[in-house]
């Protein structure tokens, strides 16, 4: 798969989110993980264990950075003190790319530490596009935006989520981190067909895919990242690979974190699906 400008999309292989519970295991056993994703904010500290392990693991593995606090959709001014720390961390880590979420996390200088959905309106598109452009100018590189899972919609929304997402990334000329679990969760919660979502995604901009587990409740799925990936999410991932070709893919696990070996088994299944999609394409 190539980008719109003809450039080959980089492919890192199959990765995991780096979690502190696995630091020593990663260094001791050198698992067959192609790359790691770090949560940027966890390493915006002055010193100590987090940075010690970050540097050592970075020496051995490719990395990408994933943020949770940029609040690109907030109506507050962009936080340049945050962006300055992000810039310094990018310089330290030299990641293949960095990403954050298409969401807002608070206003009036507050941080609710959650990934809150935006209304799908022209006003929100213009607002986010302008801010993504300014972030990309400040950091001197393209960013990846991730689709979030949501539990509410806004009565004011004029577009479907996938149209909103496509408009933002194309107008801002940024890239996409497509979270397949988030599509599945939101499709259940808001009664839409996840395949319609995939059909609308500009595949040439998808540089990374997230997979994760969730918690099913009676009328709602919650994006908890505390379970193995569910079968329907694997199936949706296979659909995504059919459409977009081979994409750097990783598993996010943030709670009830199992031993590394268990995640490696999950990653094997992900790898098989990711690679079989390519074989199908060639055939």
């Amino acid at each position: 798969m190539t980008e719109a400008n003809g450039k080959q999309r980089p492919f890192l292989g199959y990765g995991l989110g780096l979690r502190r519970q696995h630091y020593n295991d990663v260094l001791d056993s050198r698992p067959d993980v192609d790359w790691f994703e770090i949560i940027s904010e966890n390493y915006m500290v002055d010193g100590g264990k987090p940075l010690h392990y970050l540097d050592r693991i970075r020496e051995r593995y490719p990395m990408v950075m994933h943020g949770v606090s940029m609040s690109i959709g907030s109506t507050d001014p962009l936080d340049y003190s945050y962006l300055g720390r992000l810039k310094a961390l990018i310089k330290r880590v030299e990641p293949a790319w960095f990403s954050d979420h298409l969401c807002w996390t608070g206003m009036d200088q507050l941080n609710l530490h959650d990934l809150l959905p935006l209304p799908y309106t022209e006003e929100a598109i213009e607002h986010v596009v302008d801010r993504v452009s300014r972030v990309q100018d400040y950091l001197g590189r393209q960013m990846l935006l991730e689709n979030v899972s949501s539990y509410v919609t806004y009565s004011e929304s004029q577009l479907a989520e996938w149209d909103f997402l496509r408009e933002v990334v194309e107008r801002a000329d940024c890239l996409l981190l497509l979270d397949i679990n988030n599509i599945y969760v939101s499709a259940f919660n808001h009664n839409f067909n996840p395949h319609t979502y995939l059909d609308a995604v500009p595949g040439e901009r998808v540089y990374q895919i997230h997979l994760a587990g969730h918690t099913q409740e009676e009328n709602l799925i919650i994006d908890t990242h505390d379970h193995p990936i569910a079968d329907p999410v694997y199936e949706l991932y296979a659909e995504a690979i059919k459409r977009f070709g081979r994409v750097s893919t990783m598993i996010e696990r943030d709670d009830r974190i199992p031993p590394l070996a268990e995640l490696m088994q999950e990653l094997d299944r992900v790898r098989r699906i990711g690679e079989s999609g390519v074989l199908n394409q060639v055939a």
Partner: protein, 267 residues
């Protein structure tokens, strides 16, 4: 206020004060769950996420008092102190001051006078844990200093070095409460402040008590006094004859423990 700003304001107000929200016409009706239930997921997640942060930052404190009381304490703090931080790492910084205020004013905490000190101790351990790295002075560096330079030397301590005064047996309580399973421990007030040092040696956070002469000498040097002036303060405590040897021994120990980052010579 434009539409986006208005919507975000209403959403944020709901999350911060869900009990006060009556009308939520801005929430779409297309979902499987009711709008009220959908929104409650965000409000519940906000509270439980920040409570979990406080439990992780204050592990001994959360064990020391019963779960209901800790939950009440945490929720009270969360309601009064929404986060201004981009990282959850910093969220609990104001918790010790909040607890101190409650201990002064709320009868529920009258028998828990040791609680603010335990909270401050735990937060300081966390501060030492991820303080900035710094180069360390070695015994070799010290040995190479000419004798005539010594009186005017000043010492810079690593950013991970913290000096605190404790009125209670807080370190012993912390140790007992953070083993698995936690041990029974009684809070004991010593009657006077004791000096403690908290720092990180390589990647391990450590703490130890300070003898009174060590505390005087350390405080003097950390306040920027010269070696000579700090020795005078030490001499007032232990006598002029003993001070030089004691000073040399203390410096050597601090270097071995990784406390000193730089020696500053007089111009």
């Amino acid at each position: 206020m434009n539409n986006l700003e208005e919507l975000q304001s209403q959403f944020q107000n709901y999350i911060l004060k869900p009990d006060k929200a009556t009308m939520i016409p801005w929430v779409g009706l297309g979902g499987r769950a009711s709008p009220q239930f959908q929104l409650s997921v965000y409000a519940n997640a906000y509270l439980s996420r920040l409570k979990e942060v406080l439990m992780n930052d204050y592990p001994a404190l959360s064990v020391a008092i019963n779960g209901d009381l800790f939950a009440r304490l945490a929720e009270g703090f969360i309601h009064q102190h929404p986060s201004h931080f981009f990282s959850l790492r910093d969220y609990g910084s104001g918790f010790p001051v909040y607890i101190h205020g409650l201990a002064q004013s709320d009868p529920c905490y009258r028998d828990l006078a040791w609680l603010p000190e335990l909270a401050s101790f735990e937060w300081t351990l966390g501060q030492a844990f991820d303080a900035a790295e710094s180069g360390l002075v070695t015994e070799g560096d010290m040995a190479s200093i000419a004798a005539e330079s010594w009186p005017l030397l000043r010492f810079a301590f690593c950013p991970c070095v913290y000096r605190i005064d404790l009125e209670w047996n807080t370190p012993a309580m912390w140790k007992a409460l953070t083993v698995d399973p936690p041990l029974e421990v009684e809070a004991i007030r010593s009657g006077s402040n004791s000096a403690w040092l908290i720092w990180r040696q390589e990647l391990v956070t450590r703490f130890r008590s300070l003898e009174q002469d060590e505390q005087l000498f350390l405080d003097a040097l950390r306040n920027g006094e010269t070696f000579s002036d700090a020795c005078e303060i030490l001499a007032e405590r232990i006598g002029a004859d003993s001070a030089p040897m004691r000073a040399a021994g203390l410096l050597k120990g601090w270097i071995q423990q990784g406390l000193i980052t730089r020696i500053m010579f007089s111009d």
